[in-house]
């Protein structure tokens, strides 16, 4: 009987995962943050590193959310939340916006995921279970950005791996993901396989492998994934 690890107790919070992803964004990078969880990354930009954020509905370099009651509903992001303009903001139409995406002009796209495969396939738009299908900009965002990063819990709520040998849900893109920030680890996709870069100190390599659906390779030492405790 192996030791049973309570993953829920040791895993990183969403804010901590977003914080870790923010540390990798270069100064001056053009970045698109997916709707929802990835939007948190904007809050954790390190001092001295200024990223410029892109939103699909035609705004670059927008400001923070306005105070309640101060919203101008002509000024929203792709999540349809109110934003503000600031010195440097640019507006443009939708075809130009996606030219920025597909044309290789974005440095980083950060997305959520249902499943990621070891070859970089991503499933994040449909569970394949029926209902009303909706894709939005997800299939465009996975092509063109120099780095396509995923933020995700390491496992589903039922404890099943989200990092897999092959996705079982409908794909958003083929071989598109370059790095995965999970609640337990930082994993790169290299030549069709997962390479473990960092893991939280509270989990062993064996235990991490047990909750990962494909082999975790290593290239040199595995770093310690340590995030600010106050974000827990």
């Amino acid at each position: 009987m192996s030791d049973v690890i309570d993953i829920e107790a040791i895993k990183l919070s969403n804010a901590q995962i977003a914080w870790r992803a923010a540390q990798d964004i270069e100064d001056g990078a053009y970045v698109n943050l997916g709707i929802g969880f990835p939007e948190m990354v904007a809050k954790f930009q390190p001092k001295g590193k200024q990223a410029i954020f892109h939103t699909e509905n035609g705004v670059l370099d927008f400001g923070e959310a306005p105070a309640k009651g101060e919203e101008d509903w002509d000024c929203i992001n792709a999540g349809k939340k109110a934003i503000t303009i600031k010195p440097g903001t640019a507006f443009f139409h939708h075809a130009d916006s996606f030219a920025m995406v597909r044309g290789g002009h974005l440095d980083v796209a950060i997305l959520g995921a249902y499943q990621v495969a070891q070859n970089g396939d991503l499933a994040n738009w449909s569970t394949g279970k029926g209902g009303v299908p909706a894709v939005g900009g997800a299939m465009d965002l996975v092509h063109g950005a120099k780095r396509v990063a995923v933020l995700t819990d390491h496992c589903t709520k039922k404890g099943e791996p989200k990092l897999l040998a092959a996705c079982t849900m409908p794909l958003t893109g083929v071989g598109c993901v370059t790095r995965i920030y999970t609640s337990l680890a930082v994993v790169d996709v290299v030549d069709g396989g997962f390479v473990l870069r960092e893991k939280i100190p509270a989990i062993t390599l064996e235990a991490l492998q047990a909750v990962t659906g494909a082999p975790l390779g290593t290239e040199g030492p595995v770093g310690e994934l340590i995030c600010p405790e106050e974000l827990k």
Partner: protein, 235 residues
């Protein structure tokens, strides 16, 4: 030349049953609510509507669907804060859905306006949304062929218009409006202000008047988000 009309009702009078209608906007921003509501009053049905979304609440496109005027939606994201109207119609089999990735939707519309019948994009390669579409490899990478999208009418919301149909937009309300204005046989614009010729600095024109057929002034236009927060229902 004077493209000005006096009312939204006059502007949409020529839209016939079965027409393909592009409607500008992304969610509520840039949605030409007064033109959509005039179209509901006018009565045309069996419409194919092209928009990023499929309506929110019970106004605008949602109201058009609720009044059973829409046979088919072409959109990328038929969900919203309150998507009940489209959801119920779709699950009941009363409305057809063509789901298109957002950037592909924008480029298909742009291609329609630019006279380009087809193009190749990396988007959707290897996914369910590429099924049945030709694939070609360029510089070692696979791309999916997509076709242009054109419409009989486009309903556009602008900030300022002049009598020739030169247009400016307001902030993120620009979104799909400039490309839809290019891609329709007849482009109908509601503008918050109509100014005299020369009232728009030529350097600031976003949509040149050649793409526009009719302009109608709607001062202080309704904002879909505000209507929905107030629980509005149309008609």
């Amino acid at each position: 030349m004077d493209k000005r009309l006096t009312s939204p009702a006059e502007a949409v009078a020529g839209i016939k049953d079965g027409a393909v209608v592009m409607i500008g906007g992304f969610g509520g921003s840039g949605a030409p609510i007064e033109l959509i509501h005039a179209l509901i009053d006018q009565g045309a049905k069996d419409l194919t509507v092209i928009n990023n979304n499929a309506g929110n609440g019970h106004v605008g496109i949602a109201a058009l669907i609720e009044q059973k005027r829409v046979a088919k939606m072409i959109c990328s994201f038929p969900r919203s804060a309150d998507p009940v109207v489209f959801t119920e119609a779709y699950l009941a089999g009363q409305i057809e859905l063509e789901l298109v990735p957002q950037g592909t939707l924008a480029e298909r519309i742009r291609a329609g306006g630019a006279g380009i019948p087809a193009f190749y994009t990396p988007t959707s390669f290897g996914t369910d949304l590429a099924k049945g579409k030709p694939v070609e490899v360029f510089e070692g990478r696979p791309y999916v062929q997509e076709r242009w999208l054109k419409a009989d009418f486009a309903l556009i919301k602008a900030e300022a218009a002049d009598p020739h149909g030169n247009l400016t937009y307001r902030m993120a309300a620009r979104n799909f409006n400039p490309i839809m204005a290019m891609a329709a046989t007849t482009t109908i614009v509601q503008a918050s202000r109509i100014v005299p010729l020369g009232g728009i600095d030529p350097e600031q024109v976003v949509t040149p008047g050649i793409f526009v057929d009719h302009v109608v002034e709607v001062a202080k236009p309704a904002q879909e988000e505000e209507l929905n927060r107030a629980g509005a229902v149309y008609p």
